[in-house]
């Protein structure tokens, strides 16, 4: 953990790569989707076959904070053949990649966000809210100053206007609130523990079954 951040700072990175960001938030207790960083076409196919189709593939580099905009994300890949083709496409687009991330495609129709920011008056603060396509329009978010108690985290979860989405919803089970609370507490603790972290953006956090799973993460350094 400390090493990831130190190495990144030593290299002059302003952010961690998605792969590094995932390791950091996972260490804090956030569920992340299965993912493997691969260097060759063969590794990519093996990784995809091990975790099972469909998969998502992303070009991975600390310089790629906005992967979708630059065409570095491919969703819903269903065969070994496609994995090999996408691998070539992604690596052909940029030569400074740390590798290609092969991730298990997580399905769920409920998306949330978790964030960490530093407020000039209150220090590290955790944000939780509705994710997905309505994030901007509804601005349904809530904050707490870190560190969070379990009660703080549970209160946050109950504070958003769309909290009904966290209950049993259209055939999907209620969200594991304990797991969600742990994620919120963990992200807050990262802010308290590591001064070098300026921001964390976990978006989206998809509810898969009853588990909140981070499928993308960005850690911004100071």
């Amino acid at each position: 953990m400390v090493n990831i951040i130190k190495k990144a700072l030593a290299k002059g990175q302003k952010t961690l790569s998605e792969y590094e960001s995932r390791l950091v938030i996972e260490s804090a207790g956030v569920f992340v989707s299965a993912a493997e960083l691969v260097q060759t076409r063969e590794e990519a196919v093996r990784a995809a076959e091990t975790m099972g189709f469909p998969v998502v593939m992303k070009g991975c580099s600390a310089e790629l904070a906005h992967k979708t905009e630059v065409g570095m994300v491919a969703l819903n890949i269903n065969s070994a053949q496609d994995v090999a083709r996408v691998f070539d496409e992604l690596t052909g687009k940029a030569n400074n990649l740390d590798g290609v991330l092969v991730e298990k495609m997580v399905r769920g129709n409920r998306e949330f966000v978790i964030g960490l920011s530093r407020d000039p008056q209150f220090g590290p603060c955790v944000m939780f809210g509705l994710g997905g396509i309505f994030t901007e329009a509804l601005k349904d978010v809530t904050f707490r100053v870190a560190p969070l108690t379990r009660e703080d985290a549970l209160e946050m979860i109950d504070e958003i206007k769309t909290k009904k989405l966290l209950d049993e919803f259209r055939g999907s089970p209620a969200v594991d609130r304990d797991a969600l609370a742990k994620a919120l507490i963990g992200v807050g603790d990262l802010g308290v523990q590591y001064d070098d972290i300026a921001e964390i953006d976990i978006n989206p956090l998809i509810v898969c079954g009853d588990k909140p799973v981070a499928v993308d993460a960005l850690v911004v350094l100071k």
């Binding site: 407020d119 008056q121 209150f122 603060c125 707490r144 100053v145």
Partner: protein, 463 residues
């Protein structure tokens, strides 16, 4: 800490005046009214003010001085700080403006004064503020008009920290006359270049004379410290935050040079720290006054509020307002309703909210109020009561005194709403407040006070 502000042995008033139209006159007039220590007016133009010898400058004052009040143009401050240092001054209250809130030149002056004060170990209060008032000692170290406060200032247990000049004066006068509320210390902190809300909050948390702390703030100097102080105390802390909106934040900046922070985070932090947030000055006063009555309260999630009314409509509106802010209506037990039922005609069974009008018509208010209040207090599902009374001169002080005895006995607070003819209603509100019960003519004020109390009494102990 800070005792040299609140309990100095000697005070110099720089800019004292003999001219009744000037603030410098009212400062000295106010100080002589209650302060028992040595008082030194300072002004080159006079040899005497209010029969006290007046000195041309700080250096001419014989002996040391604890506290100086500064009320001359801003440019003299850096130099005056150095002069004060030579006389052993420990604190200076700067009540004049023309500093950070007044552009680049003012900012330079404030910065230089601060540097000089830091070197001398002098604490600066203000600038651009109205000083403070100690209600119990009648220390009025402020330019507030000397005629407006003597008959209304009442000592008590409410401490106020206000980041505004006029607001603390007007608001104080309003607060003192609104019901029965006494103040321990009312502090106007202005630009808070040195002494800030955290210093005063910490002082008031330890102050034996202060039981309730109410703040109007336009910025927080160190939000983390503020909430960690708040978290650790059992004293209720009520905050009205100015500059919540984009335009409000702009107004705050020109008012006290405050940079309002990210409000949604402040809002969350207050909630986390068990601070009661309010949204206008009347609500701040209502809340402070209600807490100062020290009604015992043990709210529990499974319990709720009982409503006793003389009007079905008023009962309905109260339930709606309670629902808006998440206050629960108590589920009265069958025994409670059965106990009240004999007051009602057979064709009309009592229900909750308890609309007592039919019973009052038959049996008179005394019997009906007494019997139903007693029954509701005894009900284990009830943790608090909103009591509606119509305005009649027939209700006496004894009635509310007895009601307050029940509040104490059962540890269930009562908030009173009074409606009817204005003169009778004001009379009733007065006797209810005298008895120790918060009373209002507006239903939403009853509900928000109860909501604030419920929040405070369920505050989690600090980690």
């Amino acid at each position: 800490m800070l005792d040299y502000f609140f309990n100095p042995k000697s005070v110099a008033i720089i800019g004292a005046s003999n001219n009744v139209n000037k603030g410098g006159y009212h400062i000295i007039k106010n100080i002589t009214a209650g302060f028992k220590g040595r008082i030194y007016p300072v002004n080159k133009s006079y040899t005497e003010i209010l029969q006290l010898p007046c000195y041309p400058d700080i250096a001419s004052i014989p002996g040391d001085i604890d506290l100086a009040i500064y009320f001359i143009p801003s440019r003299e401050l850096p130099h005056t700080v150095n002069e004060c240092a030579k006389k052993g001054v420990k604190g200076i209250i700067i009540e004049s403006g023309g500093f950070n809130e007044a552009g680049e030149e003012g900012q330079k002056i404030q910065k230089r004064a601060l540097e000089n004060a830091a070197k001398a170990g002098i604490r600066l209060w203000g600038p651009n503020c109205m000083g403070f008032i100690d209600g119990n000692r009648k220390h009025v170290f402020s330019f507030i008009h000397s005629a407006v406060w003597p008959d209304v200032l009442r000592g008590g247990s409410v401490g106020l920290i206000v980041q505004s000049g006029m607001l603390s004066a007007g608001f104080l006068l309003h607060a003192l006359q609104e019901g029965v509320m006494g103040v321990s210390k009312v502090c106007s902190i202005g630009n808070k270049c040195d002494i800030n809300e955290n210093d005063l909050l910490e002082y008031m948390i330890h102050d034996r004379e202060t039981d309730v702390i109410a703040c109007y703030l336009e910025s927080l100097v160190d939000g983390r410290k503020f909430i960690s102080l708040a978290r650790k105390t059992r004293k209720p802390i009520i905050v009205l935050m100015g500059g919540r909106s984009v335009h409000g934040a702009k107004a705050a900046q020109s008012h006290t040079a405050s940079l309002s922070g990210n409000y949604p985070i402040a809002h969350a932090a207050f909630r986390q720290a068990g601070i009661i947030e309010v949204f206008d000055p009347a609500e701040l006063t209502d809340m402070a006054r209600a807490f100062s009555k020290k009604m015992p309260f043990h709210p529990q999630a499974e319990k709720g509020t009982a409503i006793l009314t003389f009007s079905g409509g008023a009962g309905t509106i109260t339930v709606d307002l309670m629902d808006d802010c998440g206050l629960k209506l108590a589920k009265l037990s069958d025994e409670t309703l059965a106990h009240i039922a004999p007051l009602f005609p057979v064709w009309n069974k009592p229900d909750h909210p308890l609309d007592l009008w039919i019973a009052i018509e038959q049996h008179g208010f005394e019997k009906v109020f007494q019997r139903s209040l007693n029954a509701v207090f005894e009900d284990p599902a009830v943790d608090s009561i909103i009591f509606h009374s119509y305005a009649t001169p027939l209700i006496t002080q004894d009635f509310f005194n007895e009601l307050n005895d029940l509040v104490k006995k059962h540890a269930k607070p009562v908030v009173v709403w009074i409606e009817g003819r204005k003169d009778f209603a004001e009379y009733l509100r007065g006797i209810a407040e005298n008895a120790g019960l918060p009373a209002f003519r507006e239903m939403n004020r009853c509900v928000s006070v109860l909501k604030g109390m419920k929040q405070h009494f369920t505050k989690k102990p600090a980690r």
